[in-house]
Symmetry: C2
DNA sequence: AACGAACGTTTGTCGCACGAACGAATCTAT
DNA sequence: ATAGATTCGTTCGTGCGACAAACGTTCGTT
């Protein structure tokens, strides 16, 4: 039912299959993201942080204090996993977890000044790492790249959650 | 030390921090790749396959029979994990694992005709999924996107392994 | 014959994403 | 006002992908 020729019995044919692996966008995406993630994870580990820590802190900085469920929506961190993240951040004094007086089911997560400092450090680090990841791209291409990524994320993201 | 303003004590400032989360390319990349991977994984699960199966089969198709270590280099699948992949593929008759007569430490992995058929099916499926992933992009933009990804992969890939 | 290296394999670890279930608190319908 | 459903935080367990360590076997080298 499909187009590509594949019924040639020759085991070593190299004409009809022009480098699938290198041309599958999904695979390219996965591999590049893997490298990026690895660099980010390693870099953050140097500051004893993880990617989720950054997401949580950045979201708090942008949108202010929030309950854990709301933070979960914003950062796309699963509620279950957010617990440990808040634990770790609170342990180091970067956020404060207090019961919401208006609704005692919720906790209100607030970023502390030290948290802001930490976020600032993480931001600087990530900027460096990004520069490394995008090294082979000219400035205009980097904009193009992030623009395309944003479009993809918006398209698929909006169908599941709102914003990011 | 750095440039971005962040020493304002206002908790809900929204000016000096323009949407970090949405603009961090590394994060965009991770999120988009996550969606893509999820779609691919789900799709492949429908054919009882995983991403590694495709990588292994595609590599065999492109470059012919190989030892497991060589396959590992080509597909970037870790030697440890490749064992199970070959087991699963061999169990279903898609590849054959035979000891290399020239070097009895190695196994020679060969794709069978049924393996070719299976790869062909996976190829068709992946094409559909890719079309879904890249849906919001015009054809020219898709080319741009994969071109940028390829450049990134080449730059970072060549420093670790050769080819892909 | 002996040593080091390569290969395949097993086992375990880590990070990330996710689902199930539970107690406590809240909301709603009656 | 009380019963039932819902929300929230939390704990526990699952699965996948990537990876490191270690072991027996086999091969080169000397």
């Amino acid at each position: 039912m499909s187009s590509s020729a594949s019924d040639m019995t020759g085991p070593g044919d190299g004409e009809a299959t022009p480098a699938r692996l290198r041309n599958r966008p999904t695979r390219l995406l996965a591999l590049v993201a893997l490298h990026s993630d690895r660099l980010v994870t390693e870099g953050l580990a140097g500051l004893e942080a993880r990617r989720w820590h950054y997401a949580a802190l950045a979201s708090l900085q942008e949108f202010g204090p929030a309950s854990q469920t709301e933070l979960s929506r914003r950062t796309r961190i699963h509620r279950s996993d957010l617990v440990a993240v808040i634990n770790e951040l609170a342990e180091r004094g970067f956020v404060e977890r207090a019961p919401d007086p208006a609704d005692r089911r919720r906790n209100v997560i607030t970023m502390t000044p030290q948290g802001r400092g930490h976020l600032h450090r993480l931001d600087d680090l990530l900027a460096t790492i990004e520069d490394d990841v995008l090294a082979p791209l000219a400035p205009a291409e980097r904009l193009q790249f992030t623009e395309l990524l944003t479009r993809l994320l918006d398209h698929h993201g909006r169908s599941c959650f709102r914003d990011a």
